[in-house]
Amino acid sequence: MVTENLAYALTQVLHNFGAVTVVGGAAFALWAPALPSGREAQLARLVTLGWAVQIASGVGFGGVSYYYYGQFPDIHGVAVAALTTKVACAAAGLALALLLQLRGERWNEGRRKLSWRALALLGATALFAAAFLRWFS
């Protein structure tokens, strides 16, 4: 019981910090004073890491459930739609953040700004879906 709750809690800690990173990182890039290009690439790397942590910890929730009960969470309807939304956001967010990190310096400012907006939107949508996943099943 204690180890099970600990496993869920530690996974949740990673998931929460991942969420803060993807949304906060993109928001900072949009609203902070203009960043030097090296700093922007660093921020993109941080957001890439944030999305990777989101995916890993999301899989981790399923893994903890499977380890302790031999099955995955039993969700239906709205919760499935919310989970699908989160997975889609995470996949798109990871890919876009990675592109921004690797090729962003060659892009013009307008394209970079658009990418950060898209990343902020993906992060906010994933957070929105997370609330529905938590409270519907």
């Binding site: 009960y69 969470p73 039993d74 969700i75 099943s137």
Partner: protein, 116 residues
């Protein structure tokens, strides 16, 4: 401080025993009071699931299933749940206790009912 130094062993024993007591007292169960297993229901009547649940230390909330598909969440530990109209034929009605992550923890009861 001096009192604690002389009494630390009984104090430790109490702390070690306390977590075990509520777990033993709160054994989880699900009881479907109605319909009874094998009951025949009238298709024209509103089918109700009358139940009593104790989620236990590992349980968080309760899911209701009809033919393996989740149809709702029970908000109370004791009461009744109105089912959507059921088609004629045999149906499996289940109540399962799940944890915070919506994973069934193995505390459940199912009954079969025939709608005519």
């Amino acid at each position: 401080m001096r009192w604690f130094q002389s009494q630390w062993l009984p104090v430790l024993a109490v702390f070690l025993m306390v977590p075990a007591m509520p777990a033993a007292a709160a054994e989880a169960y699900v009881k479907i009071i109605s319909p009874a297993d094998g009951a025949r229901l009238d298709a024209m009547d509103l089918a109700k699931l009358v139940y009593e649940v104790r989620p236990g230390p590992k349980g968080d909330h309760i899911h209701v299933y009809v033919d393996g598909k989740e149809v709702g969440i029970l908000q109370r530990l004791k009461g009744s749940y109105a089912l959507e109209p059921l088609s004629p034929g045999q149906h499996s009605l289940c109540i399962k206790v799940v944890n915070k992550a919506h994973v069934p923890i193995g505390v459940e009861q199912c009954v079969k009912a025939r709608v005519e």
